[in-house]
Amino acid sequence: MKPIRLSILALALAGITSAHAGKTLDTIKQRDQIAVGVSTGVPGFSAADSQGRWTGLDVDIGKAVAAALLGDANKVKWVPLASQQRFTALQSGEVDVLSRNTTVTLTRDASMGLAFTAIAFYDGQGFMVPAKSKVKSAKQLKGATVCVQSGTTSEKNLADFSRTYKLNLKPVVFDKFDAANAAYFAGRCQVYTTDTSGLASVRAKDAKDPKEHLILPELISKEPLGPLVRRGDDEWLAIVRWVVNGLLEAEENGITQANVDQLKADSTDPVVGRLLGKTEDTGKLLGLDRDWLARAIKAVGNYGEIYERNVGEKTPVGLARGKNRLWTDGGLHYALPLR
């Protein structure tokens, strides 16, 4: 709670003239560092290891933006935020971009002074139960107790689902992700609900034996996750938006972390030439230099590489690509064209 109060205090004390366009970008360039809001620990998306190094899909997007804008993927200050602090932290300027498995919704986009940039991950809310409970469908959960984290879209989706199917589900709401996980694994709740990526992440991290927990087939909501920025600096918004789209375009055009330098030198493909700043200077339009996207790819790889490295099937989180495949492979990722 304390950070929220501090952030509100910041709003109260901030100079009235401080919200002109371009402010965020100026501040970032001046301090030569981007403040990125991440989770307090969702393995695969954003989590710190024992040495304090942050890894994950959301983290890599932050690194890509830093590489494109500041020329160095390490010029980032990671700010771990609980889900109820995250929006206030972004509103008050504590972070420049929120890359924290956050669902884009109308309320958040229209009424909270925030703007979403691009969709980095297509998710949906699901349920996890102990395998020994023999439950095979969420519709069998009549009267069950459900552990859920506060400050998320999950709470509302759960109530909607419960009402639609007259399940009378009983929520137990925790303010911390870890507390909700602990309560579920201790057996306080028969069901755990959050986005399915979160369920897989929790199962990989906290379950004694991941096979003892089953993620039910029903998805009860659409959860498009992506980075958000504060309103009032459209140039900054554009940079974040096009870095995410650029990483997707790179995958579509076969540019990888390994071959980006060589393609930049040899490729005659006009699309590749444009993306890597060889034939056209897209960076100039964004207020960046020619190599912005090449640097981002060099730092973290294309979207597919980021996905497989952090949450793919070979990782402990073990999520199949599914809806997060490119549109050319039957998925939902349809990058806006970089031209």
Binding site: M1, I4, R5, S7, I8, L11, A12, L13, A14, I16, S18, A19, S83, Q84, F87, T88, Q91, T107, R108, S111, M112, G113, L141, K142, G143, A144, T145, C147, S150, G151, T152, E155, K156, L158, A159, D160, S162, R163, L169, K170, P171, V172, V173, F174, D175, K176, A179, A180, A182, A183, A186, G187, R188, Q190, R230, R231, G232
Partner: protein
């Protein structure tokens, strides 16, 4: 006269400062496109609440959700105040006992409970309950009427029949019974509620014990000797002489402890109890009205504290020395 003028100026300065803060916050929020205002209280809540004293479902308004949270806070606070007073008084008396073992145990209790952070204590109570109690399918039961499990304590309740309140003959006991997912019917205390109430009571009781001990020790020894010399027993001395005298010393610091307990109940959110802070957190995130939700929390705790203090002041006046 001059002093009065300075005081008036200071007051005006303070009010102007506060007004500037409010105005500046509003302007800044508007400039950043953050909507504000109190209209959101009328919106549909859209979320469920795990335990409630008044009927509530996701279709009700956010104002009613706040009321549910407030009642949950009051429930914990009132029961906590009652329990910590009983336990604290017993431990306080125990610390003055002539029995060495009892005295040492009571001292150990006070030192243990007042020196471990409350949040840690709450988590320990909660983990003890949800880790070590059996699943609801294998609940410990007493005569098939009381069930204790990870789902909490289920107990029978007296309910009216079809005829309503007036039809006395139709009143009957509704027994809790095992269902697919936990225990249904009758009444239930959730493990969250039990953990919060126990945690707050035991923690505050340690402070109450010290207040009680200090109060009793403040009675001049001459009074006790006088009581004994007129032939009162130890029990009578406590009830008729030291007790009433000590009460005057005990009440003001006891009020502080009651206020602390009420405010500390806001830690309940850490172990999933749907108190006012928990509901306000959820609302804050559904609507984005951070300033308003924090203001509600502050005003409610302020009002509760002032109310408690006022009630205790009335009680204090009644036991105070009457000067005639």
């Amino acid at each position: 006269m001059r002093a009065l003028l300075w005081q008036a100026l200071a007051l005006i300065g303070l009010l102007a400062g506060l007004l500037w803060l409010v105005h500046n916050t509003q302007v800044n929020m508007a400039a950043r496109g953050i909507q504000s205002g109190w209209d959101f209280l009328g919106q549909t809540a859209g979320f469920d609440i795990g335990e409630q004293l008044i009927a509530f479902d996701a279709g009700d308004s956010l104002a009613r959700a706040f009321l549910v949270g407030l009642l949950n806070t009051l429930r914990v606070a009132l029961l906590g105040i009652l329990l910590c007073t009983l336990l604290g008084t017993l431990v306080g008396l125990g610390r003055l006992s002539h029995n060495w073992l009892l005295r040492a145990l009571c001292r150990a209790y006070v030192e243990l409970f007042r020196n471990v952070p409350l949040l840690v204590q709450l988590l320990v109570w909660y983990l003890l309950l949800v880790e070590y109690l059996p699943d609801s399918a294998a609940a410990w039961s007493w005569r098939d009427a009381l069930f204790l499990s990870k789902a909490g304590l289920a107990f029978p309740t007296l309910v009216t029949g079809a005829g309503g309140w007036n039809d006395w003959s139709a009143w009957h006991w509704q027994l809790p019974a095992l269902q697919d997912f936990g225990i249904e019917g009758g009444g239930a205390l959730s493990p969250e509620f039990i953990a919060v109430t126990l945690g707050l009571s035991c923690y505050t009781a340690a402070f109450v014990a010290e207040v009680v001990r200090a109060g009793l020790r403040s009675v001049p020894h001459g009074q006790i000797e006088a009581a004994q010399s007129v032939g009162l027993s130890r029990r009578q001395t406590l009830r008729l002489v030291t007790g009433p005298l000590a009460l005057r010393v005990i009440l003001p610091p006891l009020t502080n402890q009651y206020l602390n307990l009420t405010k500390n109940s806001s830690l309940a959110v850490a172990i999933g109890y749907p108190d006012l802070v928990s509901i306000a957190n959820t609302t804050l995130n559904q609507t984005g009205r951070a300033v308003e939700c924090i203001a509600v929390i502050m005003l409610v705790y302020l009002a509760l504290s002032l109310l408690t203090a006022a009630l205790m002041a009335v009680f204090n006046r009644r036991v105070a020395l009457k000067e005639r």
